[in-house]
């Protein structure tokens, strides 16, 4: 299973990658939203894991682009530290499959990823 992870905080990104890799996933990590989007366009990922606030492109923009421009149904999980309900509503509105508030619990993240991958295939 191949996952793309877009997150601009180095420590969090590296930790998450390390964690997911230790669970058997292949992870491509990006700290810039634009770079991540380029990678999504050229590669086939089984799941997209993205932060909202990032340089380049935001997680919202990535989600919108994937759903509307590429017309892809790849599962998308949005990570955010925003406690605002509207952010969560907006995320689902533009087509995200899951919304996880930071700080992210690795165990919860894993369960959500597995669930999405199962229902998707």
């Amino acid at each position: 299973m191949r996952i793309i992870l877009a997150e601009d905080n180095d420590i969090l990104r590296k930790s998450l990658s390390f964690f997911l890799e230790s669970k058997g996933f292949t992870v491509d990590q990006f700290s810039d939203g634009k770079d991540a989007l380029d990678a999504i366009e050229t590669n086939n990922y089984d799941l997209i894991l993205t932060d909202i606030n990032m340089p380049g492109k935001s997680g919202m923009e990535i989600t919108q682009y994937v759903r509307q421009t590429i017309n892809s149904e790849t599962p998308i999980i949005i990570l955010t530290s925003s406690g605002v309900e509207q952010t969560e509503l907006d995320s689902f509105d533009i087509g995200a499959n899951e919304f996880i508030a930071k700080p992210v619990s690795p165990a919860v993240l894993l369960v959500r990823i597995n669930k999405l991958l199962k229902t998707h295939f």
């Binding site: 905080n9 420590i11 930790s15």
Partner: protein, 660 residues
């Protein structure tokens, strides 16, 4: 006077009297409206009014059935009424020579009946009228006429009260201003006096420690006593101004009751005259620790016992404490100070607690004192919800007793802090102080403790010295040229990121000053004139505080979960954190000071994620608040505080992580 209306002989004085009441063109008033209604009821008329007549018009303070606020004086009926000393009653205007062709009789208000009572001031001027008017002819009976005159009297009384109130209000404002001026004068003066007094007492203490002959020793002792008395007086005055302005606060901290009493006893023992026995009796049931204001208890006792010792030349002075009542939460104590001194006459028992009064006029001459002591004692006792009483007979002695309730110390709190370390070793101290006298004084005192001292003339110089040398502690004067104590501390904490203990030294002792010191990051506070042992204690406290603070525990469980127990990876993440976060903090601070909201928002946001990994909830919360306020585009003092808290926390965490 050239006018087309009759003018009273005393018109000028009459107008002056009217002006005195400040009634013209004022807003409606219920009291007057009620009186007008009363006139209408009494006389059974549709029109009634209370009016005042100035040089050109009749102005209605209150009216029924008229509907205008004023009419020209020359068309009013009342222009004639104010010429009379009695009520004017015109039963039928159509039969009255003067009025039968009046426009307000033939038309206008259609006045057929008119009754007007002049409103006469206590000094005899008719300033207005109270009137009843009808469209039909009418005759009032005797009771109605009497009632009308009575209402007029009441209206006049009402006016008198109004002016008295205005006068009182003005007087009150003047008095309030005077009190305010006096309070700030007292606070400023006592501050100005304390500064040089600080030098006098300090140098005298030092001088006393040098080699002196017997006579010199005697002189020095006199200077010391005089200096300390002067300080007591100045402190009394300062307390008084604080009590007046309500800014004196009562603390609630655990303290040792027995020790406090013994301390006061030992302190005053030296003042006892030869033929007097001085004893302290403590109730066996007295607890060691209670919660309350130790300083204020001290002050009350010193004052009362000091008085007793002063006014007793033979016999005894006894201080005793008894436990009166104990509940689950608190204990009530009765404190006695009893003497066999000169006593106080029964008639003076109340007034001795008043300000500037003493037992006898001659007391001041014979015994000195400000006459403020007992007043302050009473206020202090009452501020602590206690009560104070006096039993005394002239030439037999006095007994003052006061009752105070203290909170009990719960078992947990009694396991007090570990005792102060006595051996501080050889400390290197930096003093920031611009006053040469104070520098010299501090140098000698610090020298006598066996510590090294460097002196900076101002904050700027202090910062320079601090960046060149290692110090254990900074003593900081608050008022300095170039950079004052607050600015310097802020710089040390925020720019230099130093946690060095800082003790404020100040002669201000003003309200809120202490809080301000702690707020900018100082660790201790010593009021000037400082006592050697107070300074030493403050030094010990801040240094111990540093050691006592439990080290922050960093929760790695999140990182452990992420790294699935891989130690190498964990180490890598820790070093990444150590490498990144201090730089980010620095950028954050710069951006904050530069007012760059966007940069602050991004940095705080990014840092938050890193802080979450090490589960630093408090720091993460600071970052969240900073991010939020940066998003709102507004930095407040709260933002600044959170930036400071975040900086301190990051420094601490990085230090701990580096030691791992």
């Amino acid at each position: 006077m050239n006018s087309n209306f009759p003018v009273p002989e005393n018109e000028l004085q009459r107008l002056a009297a009217l002006k005195r009441y400040n009634i013209l063109d004022t807003l409606p008033d219920n009291a007057f409206d009620d009186a007008t209604k009363l006139v209408s009821y009494i006389c059974g008329v549709p029109i009634a009014h209370i009016s005042f007549i100035d040089e050109s018009r009749q102005w209605f303070k209150s009216e029924i059935g008229i509907g205008v606020s004023e009419v020209p004086r020359e068309i009013s009926f009342c222009q004639y009424t104010i010429l009379e000393s009695e009520m004017v009653e015109i039963n039928d205007t159509h039969l009255n020579e003067r009025f039968k062709d009046d426009p307000n009789v033939t038309g206008g208000f259609n006045v057929r009946f008119y009754a007007g009572v002049p409103l006469t001031t206590p000094d005899g001027f008719n300033i207005g009228t109270l009137c009843a008017i009808d469209h039909v002819s009418k005759e009032l009976n005797e009771s109605q006429r009497n009632a009308l005159s009575l209402v007029a009297k009441h209206v006049m009384a009402q006016l008198e009260i109004g002016t008295k109130n205005i006068q009182l209000d003005a007087q009150r404002k003047i008095a309030e201003k005077a009190v305010l001026a006096r309070d700030s004068f007292l606070a400023n003066m006592s501050h100005e006096i304390r500064t040089p007094l600080n030098a006098i007492i300090g140098f005298t203490d030092l001088l006393a420690q040098t080699q002196l002959d017997a006579e010199q020793n005697d002189f020095i002792e006199s200077v010391q006593i005089a200096g300390e008395n002067l300080l007591l007086i100045v402190n009394d005055i300062l307390d008084l101004s604080k009590l007046e302005s309500g800014s004196l606060t009562i603390e609630a901290a655990p303290f040792n009751l027995k020790k406090t009493l013994k301390h006061v006893y030992n302190l005053l023992k030296i003042k006892v005259q030869k033929e007097v026995e001085f004893n302290l009796f403590l109730d066996a049931e007295l607890p060691d620790m209670v919660i309350g204001d130790q300083g204020r208890l001290n002050q009350i006792l010193v004052n009362l016992i000091g008085n007793s010792l002063k006014f007793t030349s033979e016999g005894e002075v006894i201080v005793a404490v008894k436990k009166m009542e104990e509940t689950e939460d608190d204990i009530t104590f009765k404190f006695f100070v009893r003497d066999t001194g000169i006593g106080i006459e029964k008639s003076k028992h109340k007034t001795v607690f008043e300000r500037f009064t003493q037992g006898e006029e001659s007391t001041t001459r014979t015994y000195g004192g400000t006459g403020l002591g007992l007043n302050i004692v009473k206020e202090l006792v009452e501020l602590q919800n206690g009560e104070i009483h006096l039993k005394s007979e002239l030439n037999k002695g006095s007994e003052f007793y006061f009752i105070l309730k203290y909170k009990k110390v719960q078992a947990v709190e009694s396991s007090a802090k570990p005792l102060l370390q006595n051996n501080l070793g050889n400390l290197k101290i930096l003093l920031c102080e611009d006053n040469v006298l104070n520098q010299k004084l501090a140098k000698s005192v610090i020298g006598s403790f066996g510590f090294d001292l460097d002196i900076a003339q101002n904050g700027e110089e202090g910062i320079e010295l601090l960046s060149q040398n290692e110090y254990d502690l900074i003593l900081m004067d608050l008022q300095m040229p170039v950079k004052d104590g607050y600015q310097t501390t802020e710089y040390i904490r925020n720019e230099m990121n130093s946690n060095i203990p800082i003790i404020a030294m100040t002669a201000h002792s003003l309200v809120g000053e202490q809080e301000r010191c702690y707020k900018v990051g100082m660790n201790g506070y010593v009021p000037k004139p400082f006592k050697q042992n107070v300074l030493l204690k403050a030094i010990k406290t801040v240094l111990n505080q540093d050691n006592d603070t439990p080290k922050r525990y960093i929760d790695m469980s999140f990182l452990d979960e992420m790294s699935s127990g891989d130690q190498e990876f964990k180490k890598e993440m820790i070093s990444l954190f150590i490498e990144k976060i201090p730089a980010q903090t620095e950028q954050l601070e710069k951006a904050f000071h530069g007012g760059n909201h966007d940069a602050v928002k991004k940095l705080a946001h990014n840092m938050k994620s890193s802080l979450d990994i090490f589960m630093l909830e408090d720091l993460s919360e600071y970052a969240a608040i900073i991010e939020e306020q940066a998003s709102a585009g507004e930095f407040t003092p709260e933002t600044r505080e959170n930036v400071n808290l975040l900086l301190c926390g990051v420094i601490e965490v990085v230090k701990i992580l580096k030691e791992l």
